[in-house]
């Protein structure tokens, strides 16, 4: 069957709440309103006010509260209405959650999930359109995942909730309504996508495309067009940003000898920058061309639609980068 990403996340949350009564949800509008993006639909009705809590619009406070609850063995799932608002709470995410296990020499784990839509949305301008993958994935002690498909979304939210560490789940608003096939296995209650493993979405031999979240879809579209020209692109869906599955990327580059990274985040210190550095260190001799990075433009997000489209990677941008890496075009 096909299932929208929104429903896949909802199913994952529901199954994990059923499985462990220490799992609870909190965030703005997650309960009675059933989620600003309806991701938590029906869960308040099913689990009640003890386990699905509408918070005031105070990110720093409710994030801190959730971290404290996790210190005492509860398993909070914090929804940021969008990750842009998580900046108000970033001290609690990093200083109170990510570093706690280390500072306590293993005494106090923090089993918590921070989830919500991340990255560029549509027509909401600079303050509501930003990718936090590079920010959060730079922090030891956090795990960071970023699903693309419905299977990713369900399997990763379930793994995140079962994980005894703080996990940041970077979803994408533009994908919530997009349907993807769900295998029989993925519809089951035991379906998990392991954190730390990338997925080769499409095999190929000529060039490697690496992406996460919505950019994976762009890469798949680009790969289809390239196939028409006889170019076999391999598409890697990172799924996890930290711990990064460099092994899969390196293995692919050793096969294809060419690499294009694609992301909706800014270029400086981005995911592509990190992958590029590691590939140069580990697989320089296998590269037949310079690595190409396709990223958001190095500007805040504009409102006007044509400008917005120019600010985030589109399929033609990927195709152009691929052609350069293949020496087909300058």
């Amino acid at each position: 069957i096909d299932m929208p990403v929104r429903e896949a996340i909802n199913q994952g949350l529901d199954e994990e709440m059923e499985r462990n009564e220490n799992v609870f949800l909190l965030g703005e509008e997650v309960a009675q309103y059933q989620g600003a993006y309806k991701v938590t639909k029906g869960l308040y009705q099913k689990y009640g006010e003890k386990r699905v809590l509408d918070t005031p619009i105070t990110e720093m406070g409710f994030t801190g509260l959730a971290v404290g609850a996790a210190y005492k063995d509860l398993r909070p799932v914090v929804e940021f209405m969008t990750f842009n608002f998580s900046m108000q709470a970033i001290d609690q995410v990093i200083n109170s959650a990510a570093k706690q296990l280390y500072m306590t020499a293993g005494d106090i784990p923090v089993p918590i999930v921070f989830r919500g839509p991340n990255g560029s949305a549509a027509g909401v301008a600079a303050q509501h359109s930003q990718c936090f993958a590079a920010w959060y994935s730079s922090v030891p002690g956090l795990k960071v995942v970023s699903p693309w498909s419905s299977e990713d979304a369900k399997g990763l939210i379930k793994s995140a909730i079962r994980d005894p560490n703080p996990v940041v789940v970077l979803e994408n608003e533009m994908l919530y309504g997009v349907s993807f096939p769900m295998s029989d296995e993925a519809q089951g209650k035991d379906f998990l996508v392991p954190i730390g493993q990338a997925k080769v979405e499409k095999e190929g031999t000529d060039i490697t495309l690496v992406a996460h979240s919505r950019a994976v879809g762009h890469c798949m579209a680009a790969a289809e067009q390239l196939a028409k020209e006889g170019i076999k692109a391999e598409v890697i869906n990172l799924r996890t940003i930290r711990p990064m599955d460099y092994a899969t990327v390196i293995a692919s580059v050793k096969k294809t000898n060419r690499l294009v990274t694609v992301e909706e985040g800014w270029p400086q210190n981005g995911i592509g920058a990190d992958i590029s550095a590691n590939i140069v260190e580990e697989a320089f001799d296998y590269l037949d061309a310079p690595i190409e990075r396709v990223t958001a433009a190095d500007v805040p997000m504009p409102y006007s639609k044509p400008l917005e489209e120019a600010a985030v990677p589109q399929v033609p941008d990927i195709l152009a980068a691929v052609k350069r890496a293949l020496y087909r075009e300058k």
């Binding site: 406070g61 801190g64 509260l65």
Partner: protein, 381 residues
């Protein structure tokens, strides 16, 4: 039998408090001697930290608690260890009450693996989950919403109708105007959480007096509609009775309370602050003479003929030696093994309780990185 009644020389100041605060405390020799011994141990421990810091045996930041001992002691006397506690970086003496020992605290400060946090936390980061002590948090004010989360978890785990254990978050007058404190208080009140907001008002946030930092320096009123109480934080009995009342209020479903302890720190804010540029020596000296929390307990013991001065002197002598011995023992500690560097970043394994390692941990020299970039995820090493 042997119990005495001690009237308070100062009344509790209250704010929207729907119950009466006591005017006296009942205690006895055993209790008072216990408080005296622990508070004197705290005092000697902190003074020894000062010496060791100046001798450069202790690194980094170091915030001392001498002068404020009655607050922690009064809280612990009113609580049991099911009640959760979180505080700021001024945490040595709370650790001593909640799982730490003088030796393990010194060992932590010296950076040894025998330390309460195995040498990975230092002065500001001491914990014991077993004793419901959650730090030892270094970011001013951030411990307060986290503390509200401790009270949330306490309520979550308690069957309806039963008394809940409480949580206390301690913070200073310097932190009291942080927005996140109100964010936590609002939720604690909305959700009727068993939460004590405890302001340790030591009169200065670093070097800024409360008059210069707070438009409202009656901190016990800052909960708006949330009841509050202010007490003499140099008087262990007044703190104890105040905290007992606060605990009773919170644990029976009434929601949170603000409790302000009017106290004083003898040392500067941290070891880099001599503590004399923004206040004068006379102020410190008069505080020591008139309000010292340990002298108060000693005087009670003597005045009520529960102990004679010589007995107390002997106890002090013993404690000084115990603290020195603990320091000596701590100094025999071992430097943490290199492997500790990259341990305790992630937990996992089959029952989610084993320390696991990322497959690849990059080191300053890439050639010396731990694990392999060709492996994936986290695993037992």
């Amino acid at each position: 039998s042997g119990s005495i009644t001690v009237p308070f020389s100062r009344e509790y100041d209250t704010h929207k408090l729907p119950f009466e605060m006591p005017k006296e405390a009942v205690t006895n020799k055993e209790e008072l001697l216990g408080y005296f011994k622990l508070m004197y141990t705290m005092r000697r421990m902190e003074i020894t930290c000062d010496t060791e810091y100046k001798a450069r045996a202790i690194r980094g930041f170091c915030h001392l608690y001498d002068g404020q001992e009655a607050v922690a002691m009064g809280v612990e006397a009113a609580f049991d260890q099911k009640d959760s506690w979180i505080t700021s970086y001024r945490c040595h003496c709370i650790s001593l009450l909640r799982g730490g020992t003088v030796e393990s605290i010194f060992a932590e400060l010296l950076g040894y693996s025998e330390g309460v946090s195995h040498g990975k936390g230092g002065s500001m980061h001491m914990y014991s989950k077993k004793h419901n002590f959650y730090g030892g948090q270094g970011i001013v004010g951030a411990q307060v919403p986290v503390g509200v989360g401790l009270s949330f978890a306490a309520k979550y785990a308690t069957p309806p109708g039963e008394k809940t254990p409480v949580a206390i978050a301690m913070y200073g007058d310097g932190a009291a105007n942080q927005g996140q404190i109100w964010e936590g208080a609002n939720m604690a009140s909305l959700w009727k959480l068993p939460m004590i907001f405890c302001i340790e008002n030591n009169q200065y946030g670093m070097g800024t007096s409360k008059e210069r930092s707070s438009s409202n320096n009656k901190y016990y009123t800052m909960g708006n509609h949330i009841p509050g109480v202010r007490m003499d934080g140099m008087n262990v009995l007044m703190v104890r009775e105040g905290m007992k009342a606060a605990k009773e209020w919170c644990s029976t479903g009434n929601g949170p309370i603000y409790v302000e302890s009017d106290t004083y720190r003898y040392h500067g804010h941290s070891m880099s602050d001599p503590g004399t540029t923004y206040r004068n020596r006379d102020e410190i000296a008069s505080m020591r003479t008139a309000r010292d929390p340990i002298e108060y307990v000693k005087n009670l013991l003597v005045q009520h003929n529960l102990a004679d001065p010589q007995e107390l002197k002997n106890i002090e002598k013993d404690i000084r030696k115990e603290v020195q011995d603990a320091l000596k023992a701590a100094k025999n500690g071992s430097i943490p093994k290199f492997e500790e560097l990259y341990k305790d970043i992630y937990i996992g394994g089959e029952d989610n309780s084993k320390i696991v390692y990322p497959a690849y941990i990059r080191m300053p020299d890439r050639a010396k990185s731990i694990g392999s970039i060709y492996e994936r995820g986290v695993s037992g090493m």
